[in-house]
């Protein structure tokens, strides 16, 4: 199953240097289980950060050279559209769920799906070929450790969740051997979408989680019967929606 992993222009938050996003490294790990020669695709000023993807398991990398900060979407869509029409089209396109270094909205995969007319599925933690050919079984991460197992018809775009297995170990030799193919971008002249009010990030504390609604002075029970205590505990859990017992 031919798989393409989209590698974004991730930046270190402190130094601002280009690096490989961990999420996309995890995506490479998932791709390597389906395809013995997964390919990478990157639109950006160069391969400085993303070439580490070759060391994590990619076999080849397409770099479309575009000025920094330019909207990568037209170049991505054009490149993928031609490769989808070629005689060996990619069956699966893997992305991160949010970028790490640009505007970080996580919209690129969705806009790409719209442009290419492909179905999209979010938050994959495990991938497996389906029983029928041209299908893929995707495990989506949900709250409380639950998974949603979706069978999807290929080709498709899938975004990867941080709970996916950790990336494959980095191998320098693999990175040196990997093939990097450079392409020039069509001059798209899309105006760079810089938001006016950009300023240094200020860390804001999250809300504290304090004791729940059911707590209060009356909730202390001194020396109840063990049966009564058990009943109180289960009632508290069910009232606060933590667990429901006796319903499968």
């Amino acid at each position: 199953m031919k798989t393409v992993v989209l590698l974004s222009d991730a930046r270190n938050p402190v130094s601002g240097r280009a690096q490989l996003s961990r999420l996309e490294a995890q995506a490479i790990g998932l791709a390597a289980e389906l395809d013995e020669s997964p390919q990478g695709l990157h639109v950006g000023p160069g391969e400085e950060g993303v070439s580490a993807g070759l060391g994590h398991g990619l076999c080849g990398l397409d770099v479309i050279e575009a000025p920094e900060g330019e909207d990568p979407l037209p170049a991505l869509a054009a490149f993928l559209a031609t490769s989808l029409k070629s005689d060996e089209p990619p069956a699966l396109v893997l992305c991160g769920r949010r970028g790490e270094g640009g505007l970080d909205t996580g919209l690129v995969p969705y806009l790409l799906a719209e442009a290419l007319g492909l179905p999209i599925l979010a938050d994959a933690v495990a991938l497996r070929p389906g029983e029928a050919s041209d299908t893929l079984v995707v495990d989506q991460a949900m709250a409380k450790g639950a998974r949603r197992r979706v069978t999807i018809r290929l080709p498709a775009i899938v975004t990867v969740h941080p709970l996916a297995p950790p990336p494959l170990p980095f191998a320098f030799g693999r990175m040196r051997r990997g093939e990097i193919r450079r392409h020039a971008a069509d001059v798209s002249e899309v105006p760079v979408d810089v938001d006016a009010g950009e300023r240094p990030h200020r860390a804001r504390p999250k809300l504290m989680r304090t004791a729940g609604t059911a707590s209060g002075g009356a909730n202390l029970h001194v020396g109840p019967d063990p049966e009564e205590a058990a009943r109180l505990i289960l009632a508290y859990l069910e009232d606060n929606g933590i667990r429901r017992y006796g319903q499968g």
Binding site: R11, N12, R97, L107, A122, M142, R209, A211, G216, G217
Partner: protein, 410 residues
């Protein structure tokens, strides 16, 4: 300046009261609100509310759990100090807040997983309430939920828009888009988590509108989000389509709203032709790591029967945890240790059996919203921290819980 002039003498006369044969000044009585209109802090009341229930004349005990004073607790002022006139915190408030003709609408899309509002759902509703009351106010919060659940009004929803649970995210987005087109809300808020985040992005593409994702700070005037891998941020006037980060907005806590149901969207959502089958695989709490699970059942030095404890954790569908003493003794694996030198939990609920609540242990559960403590010692720190505290032998409670759970299963 047109400020009314104060007359200190008249104010003094006003406050003089006859008590035990002497004239005294009563500073507890407040006739007028301060000019700013803001409610004044009353340290006396706060002090009185922090007294634990069993305070008697001789010995004062304080409740140091730092819970916010709620309205029910405020009733205790009267008992703590008779001379203080114990008015309700906000006197004269109506019991229900009704917005009949909203000036505009704010959508809050909630998941209501398991048929109830989660903490995150409440935060999304609270943020929507903030935007609806912004400026001149008069906006109405429309909770967009797959089912009608309890407590929507208390969480700040004026209206309820019923969108049936769709089989696929694509269908759900189509139904939501139809509702947005029909009702033209000023803002649409979703949670930046799981299906909410996915739905927000699909909606953004379908509407052709930008998405302001993962808002970290939201006020009536601006919404702030991080960009460049948290190296920079942008703040704008709250845009139309936003997703809210977890624990970033306060839930609504004032007078309940009415949560009146309004005409639903289209009954049938189109299916996604590319999706062939969907199946939910429930998570196994025993295999989850402590940092990922939502419910931890934990044992301390007060537990001696560890076989029963493991059975109990499995039967309660919780992830087993332990205090350091237990892990040091080799009774539980080191990976199960909760606390400063173990795992700091992100769970919603923590059941502590025979754990004293040492500071290093409490650090690990600082983020837990619900804590249940079973301990033989009434004065243990864990009992003080707990939302439900049971002073009883854990060795007796464990078999009783197991028995009750078995009865429920059958």
């Amino acid at each position: 300046m047109s400020r009314p002039r104060r007359d200190p003498r008249a104010e003094r006369d006003n406050r003089t009261v006859e008590s035990r044969g002497r004239t005294r000044l009563d500073f507890g009585r407040r006739e007028t609100l301060p000019v700013s209109g803001r409610m004044r802090r009353d340290p006396w009341r706060e002090w009185a509310a922090s007294l634990a229930g069993e305070t008697d004349g001789e010995r004062k005990r304080y409740d140091r759990s730092q819970r916010q004073m709620n309205r029910a607790e405020a009733v205790r002022f009267a008992r703590a100090r008779e001379t203080l006139d114990a008015t309700d915190i906000s006197p004269g408030q109506p019991a229900l807040r009704v917005i009949d003709e909203p000036a505009f609408l704010v959508f809050a899309v909630v998941e209501t997983a398991g048929g109830r509002l989660s903490r995150f759902d409440r935060q999304v509703l609270g943020a929507a309430r903030l935007l609806a009351d912004a400026g001149d106010g008069g906006g109405a919060v429309v909770a967009v939920a797959p089912e009608s659940v309890e407590g929507l009004g208390e969480a700040g929803a004026d209206r309820l828009l019923h969108l049936p649970r769709a089989a696929t995210q694509r269908g759900r987005t189509a139904a939501l888009k139809a509702a947005v087109d029909r009702l033209a809300p000023r803002h649409v808020l979703l949670a930046e988590e799981g299906d909410g985040a996915d739905c927000a992005r699909r909606l953004s593409v379908a509407l052709g509108e930008p998405l302001f994702a993962n808002v970290e700070h939201l006020t009536a005037r601006q919404a702030v989000r991080a960009i460049r891998n948290r190296g920079a941020e942008i703040g704008l006037a709250p845009p139309r389509l936003m997703t809210l980060g977890e624990d970033r907005a306060k839930p609504y806590e004032a007078v309940p709203c009415e949560a009146r149901e309004i005409e639903g969207g289209p009954a049938t959502a189109p299916a996604d032709p590319a999706i062939l089958s969907v199946e939910i695989v429930p998570g196994d709490p025993a295999k989850l790591s402590l940092s990922e699970t939502d419910f931890v059942v934990s044992a301390g030095n007060g537990v001696s029967d560890f076989a029963a404890f493991r059975d109990l954790a499995a039967a309660m569908k919780g992830t087993p945890g332990a205090s350091r003493v237990v892990c040091d003794a080799g009774l539980m694996p080191r990976t199960a240790q909760v606390g400063a030198s173990g795992t700091v939990l992100a769970a919603d609920c923590y059941l502590a059996l025979g754990i004293s609540g040492a500071p290093q242990h409490l650090q690990g559960i600082a983020g837990c919203e619900h804590v249940i403590a079973v301990n033989t010692d009434l004065h243990a720190a864990m009992i003080e921290r707990a939302g439900l505290a049971i002073v009883q032998d854990a060795q007796l409670v464990m078999p009783a819980l197991l028995k009750l759970l078995q009865e429920r299963e059958t």
